[in-house]
Amino acid sequence: MRDRGTRAATLLVVDDNKVNRLLLARNLDLMGHRVAVAENGRVALDTARRESFDLVLLDIEMPEMNGFEVLGEMRSDLQLRDVPVIVTSSLEGLENVVRCIELGAEDYLTKPVNPILLKARIGASLEKKRLRDQQKEMVRRFAAPEVAQDLQREGFALGGKRVAASVMFSDIRNFTPLAESQPPEDTIELLNTYYTLMFDAIGGQGGIVSQIAGDGLMAIFGAPIAMPGHCDAAVKAALEMIELVELFSREQARAGKPGIRIGIGIASGEMVAGYTGTNERATYTCIGDTVNLASRLEAHTKVANQAIIIDAVTREGMHGAVDVEALGPLTVRGKTRAVDVFAVRVSRLS
């Protein structure tokens, strides 16, 4: 009688009436799911916060805390808002169904629940949840944790807000000849190691990597979460990146493989941070003059033969003891006036 075809899930049945609770739990058990029960809304929330469930089957008419209240609390709880809820109720009236759906319920089944319908709806809900979890996992893997949290908290909306932040561009010098000199597999491996190191250095200072393309990356310090010392953080991360790349290159040399060098440009100021793209495919990024300047400074590292170049705003915003050298005014494309730029002295590893 037990159905082994279904993917087993962990479900929570919430109903104040014992007969309903037992029957629902039995039906779900026969479908091959693991079932926990709660006899009112208060107990249900406590249980759901303590354990993790794939789906909640929720009655509406309950003492202590009714189903409407449970739905409301679940929606405002970061931990619970993504757990799908199917309402099972014998409450009559379309307005009750509408209210449940408006409060975020996935579905509304009238009691006594038809087991075949129940199975179909649970299957659909679990599948949707699986896709959502997969999406969340993708966001987690490919976006910075701060961005993932921001997405969860604020929801997704294109458009941005003005922030004061530091933005960093970094890329590998002479990457193309390097890539051509070795098998593509080696290049992928090198890039993966390089990115792992760079993410560590940037994340370690509270920055987020907003974009990676080829051998280059863009990082933001001070958004989506405001950071008072964003200039210091960006420069510290840059110094660490240079050091890590040097260590990595030594390791490569020992293995008879080519090393790499990177150039980093940092600019600070006001910019617009937010999601750009389309609703289907978007990325968290910053735009504005400051961002363009950072990109130009990174390009200038090759010309000036410097590892790290920063703008005057970053220089003034720094409180930490870091050696800088004025490189004088620099005329950058897109700017009418020359800007003062500085090279950050990198202490060579001995």
């Binding site: 104040d16 007969v19 309903n20 039995r26 008419e61 006594p112 087991p115």
Partner: protein, 115 residues
């Protein structure tokens, strides 16, 4: 009486999907809980507790539907939707009718359980 005490098709379907042994236990649970519900209705009426009255009637309706106790479900539904106001006047008579129908349901379920 136009409707049967227990609708055979509903009860059979319940046994087929949940298992006969399980349904026997479920019936026992209902027979243990239902007298409390009936008492609860009278108590809520006496206390003028409309919310409790509606909720208990609702639960009784829901359980009656589960077992195919069609007439009991109809009576409970009238109480749920009518509320305290709906039974004022002949509240006692309506609750008496509910008690009487429950007695028939309890007997029928007990017999089905032994079958």
């Amino acid at each position: 009486m136009t409707q049967s005490t227990i609708d055979a098709a509903t009860f059979e379907e319940l046994k087929a999907t949940a298992g006969a042994d399980f349904v026997r236990e479920l019936v026992d649970t209902f027979l243990a809980d239902a007298p409390e519900m009936l008492k609860g209705l009278r108590q809520a009426l006496e206390d003028g507790d409309a919310e409790r009255f509606r909720r208990v009637a609702h639960t009784l309706k829901s359980n009656s539907n589960t077992f195919g106790a069609a007439t009991l479900a109809v009576l409970a539904r009238q109480l749920e939707l009518g509320g305290l106001g709906g039974v004022r006047g002949d509240a006692g008579a309506q609750l008496d009718a509910l008690d009487a129908e429950y007695a028939r349901v309890a007997q029928a379920l007990a017999e089905l359980g032994r079958a």
